[in-house]
Symmetry: C2
Subunit: 79 residues, 2 copies
């Protein structure tokens, strides 16, 4: 059993309203010195495959379902 | 400038409908051998502070705003 972490984040230059609003909310709560907040989605997939097969399958999952290639980039890490 | 990664995930035993539905959708697309999918939220916070201060501040952010202590646990990693 292989555990793969799929990290899906916005491409540089794409607006991140969730991150921006989180930053604003934190500042309203009194937190200081925050330069930036980015929001990222992580999927932890447990797969019955070899590490190499799992990496390939997870990249295919991103292309077919999990990520929007217009605005998001993804990376897969096998743990 | 310190970059902190705040990872917010469901506590063990809490239902993860997003992960379960993602698993179902992947299986419908033909992916095989998936034992489990978990969905996790990541915030990358850039802070103007020392690493120790940043870790403390991020943990406080989770307690005050980002995490729901009833169903979620959080961890902070300074990069």
């Amino acid at each position: 059993m292989v555990v793969a972490e799929i990290r899906i984040e916005l491409k540089p230059g794409v607006a991140d309203p969730e991150g921006q609003n989180t930053k604003k909310a934190l500042e309203l709560l009194g937190f200081e010195g925050i330069a930036n907040v980015r929001s990222i989605k992580l999927f932890v997939v447990e797969l019955d495959a070899s590490p190499a097969e799992a990496k390939k399958a997870c990249e295919e999952m991103c292309r077919k379902l999990l990520a929007n290639p217009v605005i998001q980039k993804f990376s897969v890490q096998i743990k």
